[in-house]
Symmetry: C2
Subunit: 339 residues, 2 copies
DNA sequence: TTGTACGCGTTATCAT
DNA sequence: ATGATAACGCGTACAA
């Protein structure tokens, strides 16, 4: 096992001082051609690479980004993560991922862990529990320490920092308007229990579109399911008992499940009933029928978040201005709606 | 902005030496009750937390694990990653993820980057290009430096290290046997171009099962598609032209696509034609009909990989014995096969 | 009981 | 042209 070589080793071997070696490797003008060549040759031979940790300690810069997300086995977050990783990688940053698992405590612990020097800044989406508790002290602490923070998707107004979201309300509004223009009258909304701000925004858009188009709001057409919804009972009954001709679902899985219920009931998609989902992931593309879906452009979102963060990290002055980037979403039309 | 506080700050403020502070915070017997209380109170007040980087430098241990995977937007890898993250987190380790994007160069660069002190060990699945080139010098370098390495799923025999795989060959063998027992005679294999060792293993199992059950091997029933297969042409023609009563696909997406072709051709699933896929992900569960699939237990795989790695990282002696853990897969039967 | 000195690996500043 | 020294933040063996 050949040990990692350090400046000290080279210095000792070549009988020069450590600082000479350091300078020689940086091609400093101060050092003679001879020495430089000797040192550089030796370094190459033994494949010298400076130790990142030592450099981090010296520079007080780790070139690491901390990413905290509720769940990694979730198409949208995964997509965002890919955008972050890509941008970070191409700018010389590494990414440390922690999964909060929708738990407040884990989120806090992970943040504290990373905040002690391991990273230069955070990118995160809040856990469901955090949004429910409405407790953001851990975020406040971090920003007060001057650690840059970028929130995406699951954000809060309580914290001042850069943010990236999609226009959830607008997207839902457009989707519902589309359904109405296709002649749909009884449009259901399948959403999550209400503490997730994204679901809230989508519901707002749904209601507003109905109102603006002169359709009555019928609360009995709104079904709220637990976030991790496994049981088929509740949604099954809903479809059996209601007369519906279109459905907006706040995620793909709800949509796929509901399409099944509709088919089982003997309805034809999209003739008798149309479906639109959120998160244009793999399920939408491969569902049968293929699902019309609101694409959230997660990868782009990740890139923007990473860019915002790295900008803040690398800016010298303490920049106290924050912006919220709102990404436009796109409705991808497929077989589950009439064109 | 309140700056992160260090031992030095506390020492200066309390007019004691740095080492006194350090010891006091560790509740050392050497320090008087008085001083300890004073220091600890002050530390708590200002929320002192030791700097991870400094500790890493001192201990030559980062408590970071480097994970390099070909793709993160891929259900199987994501699942494995979750297992790694979970185990790592519960053992006080952080995870740095790099995505090789199936590129040899990126894999090499990322490894070199992390190998210079940023991590205590690697967990990785080889990129397609690396397997194609058959060049593993970057892995060799790392292991020679004494950095522990665990390979999973996409592995190679060229490198001595711990490994975790599933019994791909056996799984395919079982799946095909199952189809045969259900009375299927003309069983197709849809696989990737041949340099991925997992696909190879699955193909072996397929052939062996046919042979052991006295069925002729018909190479024209084997379709090899590019790994990132987008175009529908080739597989479409295949289904139009062949008489097939069952299909084994090496991944979910191939299976879903092929089911569409079959349905389009007017075949009934599973009556006329059965389907079995690999990677029991979200698509299998929600496909219509639901897809019978080989579950690879990615999360368990990740846990085991992390456990193997951390064991090696934390073991004092240079342990030169490596093991290869072979995980049993499970066939999850759903609507696409007869029970 | 407290403090000094050193080392982890690197770089920057200031001598020589 | 080269080297000594200090500093990043921490921990610890040793000295006082």
């Amino acid at each position: 096992m050949k040990q990692k070589i350090t400046l000290k080793h080279i210095a000792r071997e070549l009988e020069v001082s450590i600082s000479t070696v350091s300078k020689a490797l940086k091609n400093s003008e101060e050092i003679s051609r001879d020495t430089k060549e000797k040192v550089q040759a030796f370094a190459k031979l033994y494949n010298y690479k400076p130790n990142n940790i030592a450099i981090s300690l010296k520079n007080k810069r780790t070139k690491n980004i901390g990413v905290i997300i509720p769940d990694i086995v979730h198409h949208f977050f995964t997509t965002v993560f890919r955008g972050i990783e890509k941008y970070a990688d191409s700018h010389g940053y590494n990414v440390i991922v922690c999964v909060s698992d929708e738990s407040f405590d884990k989120e806090v612990i992970n943040m504290e862990m990373l905040a002690n020097g391991s990273i230069d800044g955070f990118i995160m989406a809040l856990s469901a529990e955090t949004q429910l508790k409405n407790d953001f002290n851990h975020l406040k602490e971090v920003t007060e320490q001057g650690i840059p923070l970028v929130l995406f998707d699951r954000i809060t107004d309580e914290i001042e920092c850069d943010k990236v979201v999609i226009d959830d309300k607008e997207a839902a509004y457009q989707a519902v308007t589309k359904l109405i223009n296709n002649g749909r009258k009884r449009i259901a909304l399948i959403t999550t229990e209400s503490y997730l701000n994204v679901s809230e925004k989508r519901a707002e858009g749904y209601f507003e579109a109905l109102k603006d188009n002169g359709l009555a709001i019928d609360e009995s057409l709104v079904l709220r399911l637990p976030y991790q919804y496994e049981d088929e009972q509740k949604s099954g009954k809903f479809f059996e008992s209601k007369e519906i001709d279109a459905v907006l679902c706040v995620n793909e899985i709800f949509a796929i499940r509901c399409m099944r219920h509709a088919i089982k009931k003997g309805l034809k998609i999209p003739e008798d009933i149309s479906f639109i989902g959120f998160t244009d992931g793999i399920l939408s593309k491969f569902a049968n029928p293929r699902l019309t879906s609101v694409a959230q452009h997660g990868e782009r979102m990740g890139e923007i978040a990473a860019q915002m963060l790295i900008e803040k990290v690398e800016s010298e002055e303490e920049n106290e201005t924050y912006r919220t980037e709102i990404l436009k979403s796109t409705l991808i039309e497929r077989e589950s709606t009439i064109n």
